[in-house]
């Protein structure tokens, strides 16, 4: 899977680092816990910049290549930050057949970002996600934890507006 690596500088805080060190300490001796540590690190930082990957590699005593290898292998790990509002449009088969691509096109038109990107003001990020299993409501998009179903491209503007202020 292609991953875009962000050019936005790393802005981690000492509190975040402390949290991460605690996670690492808990799992240091488990040989199968690397993915778990990375999942928790992503929850702490919102994404996995190279700086964080280095901290994990040192803490877990594995080469940073191994951490990077896992980070790029699994779709859930993000190497660039997410927007304040995370939009994902489901591109599962049922949603695709029912016109999910038109939703993405409209969002790109309105916000000027393509899937995998984040707006410059950090307000919105867009991704095309794998089937979220709500096929009965196809086509579906989610913004943060809100699910919107049975959409057409005409619904997009109104929904985005709710998150604009």
């Amino acid at each position: 899977m292609k991953k875009s690596i962000s050019k936005i500088p790393f802005r981690g805080t000492p509190e975040q680092e402390k949290q991460l060190m605690e996670v690492i300490k808990k799992h240091r001796d488990q040989k199968d816990a690397l993915i778990k540590v990375m999942q928790e690190a992503q929850e702490i930082y919102g994404y996995l910049p190279l700086e964080v990957q280095q901290m994990i590699a040192e803490g877990m005593n594995v080469p940073v290549e191994e951490v990077y290898g896992i980070a790029t292998f699994y779709a859930m790990f993000s190497l660039s930050p997410k927007g304040e509002n995370k939009i994902s449009v489901c591109l599962g088969t049922a949603c695709y057949v029912k016109g999910a691509q038109a939703l993405i096109d409209r969002i790109t038109e309105v916000l000027g970002i393509r899937p995998g990107e984040c707006t410059e003001d950090g307000k919105f990020s867009l991704e095309a996600c794998r089937c979220i299993g709500a096929c009965g409501l196809a086509p579906v998009m989610t913004i943060n934890d809100d699910v919107y179903g049975r959409l057409t491209d005409k619904d997009v503007d109104g929904i985005l507006k709710k998150y604009m202020d």
Binding site: I35, K36, Y74, F77, A94, V97, G133
Partner: protein
């Protein structure tokens, strides 16, 4: 830990709640992910609030899993005496009326029931989902508790004979006998491959090792498939019980459930269920005071489709990049952490407790000669009744689409049904009468897969669909073996060439040749099956490919490069609606004058097509 007598007492006590007397009511709200997405939480909260305000002590409210009729969510069901009433598309503002008229007045509110909402005439005045055509042809084994019990209550699971199969196994049967029962039932893997479950178990049982593992594949990655999610959200204890039975049968003490992180509700309910089972002594050391020890852990997937492949899944549990390993050695010999391991799918496990309780003959009496039992399908796409259906093996595709699914919306024509996700194929209308089982589907170039069944109508371009699936596999190929990494990329490029109108007939031959090459040479199941969407569409929709190549036309009007929009002057009312909608000023004309689209400017966005109310803009 609770004793066997205590479990029996719980069963008898809680069972009574499920048989409410005539003047008492049990209200359940379908709260699987789809229900919650449709707004079930606010309906549930409102029900609880109003019932408390009115002090109705003859009413209980609880959540339940997936009731199955996705497009009618949120669904609320009311049980009283022998009566079951299914309310559909319920919102919080309808709750008052239901409580006042039904729970206090004793009269169901007909206008909100499923019968009133269903379109077909025969279903009028039906109150319960059980009497609809959607439900009538189904047979629920794996889904038996989904939509009935509260998935967060172990007592309710016990009330429906939960954990009795495990108790029977460890107190009455030897491990060999358990394996014999599963073998005799004819159960085959529901994840798609269809390998006989009993044989898998006996292979792992035979191998001696200091440690063995039982794994559950809940990394449901096929787009359009949500059977496993529904089982985990609706009946998590059934999977836990079955895994413990499998552990007893093969001599394993540790199990792992590998579940997608994209399924937070399923993960939450699994965690609750595992904790409850431990508390009752049904998981952990010396289960129910016997020598048998078994425990479970959850591992979260991180979004890699290939991890649904068994060896890749195990590599991922070990905390590495989830790349597949060559087989042999098979997992039964050398699996997770190099130890003998069995891996079964969620739905396979959900069948096990019933097989133990009701016997292998009962299970084998359902289905076809080589495919026994039932299969759950996630019915989606261009079909009236989307939802989760469980049918006996051998049901015809026509029954599923016309009778259960209620046909295609908007009077459109059925074109194909896609099964097996990116590994499967498209079944054309000429095979409409096919009896659905493992072998029949493979014979016509598709496969059972995990159970996604997506219906396509005349507006779907089959070349575009093949390209869609290849787009998926290119993205999800792990890159370990060349035939898959490079081969699928080349396939995708060829399809791109066809859909953009630049291909020759020679390309079609090359396309087919490359498909067979990838099939024969890829390392794992993902690569070996990746060409199936192309091969099956080439086989059944060759004319459509030819139209793209020779005529440079897309018959379904999907492939942008191959369609053009023109104005049918006989239908045009000269209102300029299309002209105003056009983002690039490609339409010439004024009020009361003919409108013409300038093809050199047109970007084929379809805005004019949408804007015209008279059907005067046509795709060619």
């Amino acid at each position: 830990m609770v004793s066997l007598d205590k479990i029996k007492a719980i069963r008898d006590r809680v069972r009574k709640q499920f048989l409410p007397a005539d003047n008492t009511y049990r209200v359940v709200v379908g709260m699987a992910t789809c229900g919650i997405a449709a707004g079930a939480k606010s309906v549930y909260d409102e029900l609880v609030k109003v019932i408390k305000e009115k002090g109705l002590d003859n009413v209980t409210v609880s959540q339940t899993g997936c009731i199955g009729a996705c497009q009618y969510e949120p669904i609320v069901e009311v049980y009283s005496g022998d009566q079951r009433v299914t309310y559909v598309k319920i919102t919080a503002d309808k709750v008052d009326e239901i409580i006042y008229r039904h729970l206090m007045g004793g009269h169901p509110v007909e206008k909100y029931t499923i019968g009133a909402v269903l379109k077909s005439g025969e279903d009028d005045n039906i109150l319960s989902i059980e009497d609809t055509a959607f439900y009538k042809y189904q047979k629920r084994v794996a889904l038996r508790n989904c939509g009935i019990i509260n998935p967060e209550s172990i007592d309710e699971y016990i009330a429906f004979d939960g954990y009795q199969a495990l108790i029977d196994c460890i107190t009455k049967y030897t491990p060999e006998e358990v394996i014999e029962i599963v073998k005799a039932s004819g159960l085959r893997g529901r994840g798609g491959g269809g390998f006989p479950t009993g044989i898998k178990w006996s292979l792992a049982a035979k191998n001696q090792a200091d440690q063995k593992y039982v794994c559950c594949n809940a990394d449901e990655g096929d787009p359009g498939a949500f059977m496993d999610r529904s089982v985990l959200e609706g009946d998590p204890h059934a999977v836990i019980e079955a895994m413990a039975i499998a552990g007893y049968a093969i001599g394993a003490t540790q199990g792992y459930i590998y579940v997608r992180a994209e399924y937070p509700v399923a993960v939450k309910r699994l965690k609750i269920a595992i904790d409850q089972a431990r508390e009752y002594g049904l998981l952990g050391k010396n289960i129910l005071g016997t020598d048998f020890t078994f425990d479970l852990d959850i591992r979260l997937g991180a979004g890699a489709f290939v991890c649904g492949e068994e060896t890749a899944l195990m590599t991922s549990i070990e905390g590495k990049r989830g790349e597949p390993r060559p087989r042999p050695p098979y997992p039964a010999v050398k699996g997770l952490f190099g130890k003998p391991t069995i891996l079964n799918n969620v739905e396979t496990y959900a069948n096990i407790p019933q097989i133990i309780l009701k016997g292998s003959e009962w299970f084998a009496s359902m289905g076809t000669e080589k495919s026994k039992g039932t299969k759950v399908f996630a019915l989606g796409g261009k079909i009236n009744n989307t939802g989760l259906v469980e049918i006996p093996m051998g049901t015809t595709l026509r029954q599923v689409i016309e009778e259960i699914g209620g046909g295609i919306p908007n009077g459109k024509k059925f074109k194909a049904a896609q099964t097996g996700g990116p590994s499967g194929g498209c079944i054309p209308s000429s095979k409409f009468e096919i009896e659905i089982d493992y072998d029949n589907l493979v014979n016509i170039g598709s496969m059972m897969g995990s159970g996604g069944l997506i219906v396509m109508d005349e507006d779907t371009c089959m070349v575009d669909i093949a390209k869609f699936f290849l787009d998926f596999t290119v993205d999800e190929s792990c890159g370990k073996c060349t035939p898959c990494r490079i081969g699928t990329k080349r396939l995708h490029e060829m399809l791109e060439k066809i859909t953009s109108g630049n291909a020759t007939m020679e390309d079609l031959d090359k396309l087919e040749e490359l498909c067979y090459y990838i099939k024969d040479n890829a390392l794992c199941g993902l690569g070996q099956t990746a060409p199936n969407p192309v091969l099956s569409t080439l086989k059944y929709f060759y004319d459509e490919y030819k139209a793209h190549v020779v005529d440079r036309k897309c018959p379904a009007g999907v492939c942008k490069n191959l369609i053009s929009y023109v104005i049918d002057d006989t239908k045009c009312k000269r209102c300029t609606a299309c002209k105003r909608a056009c983002p690039v000023q490609a339409i010439e004309g004024a009020v009361k004058q003919p409108h013409v689209i300038d093809q050199s400017k047109c970007i084929k966005c379809g805005a004019c097509y949408e804007a015209c109310k008279f059907g005067a803009v046509v795709k060619r």
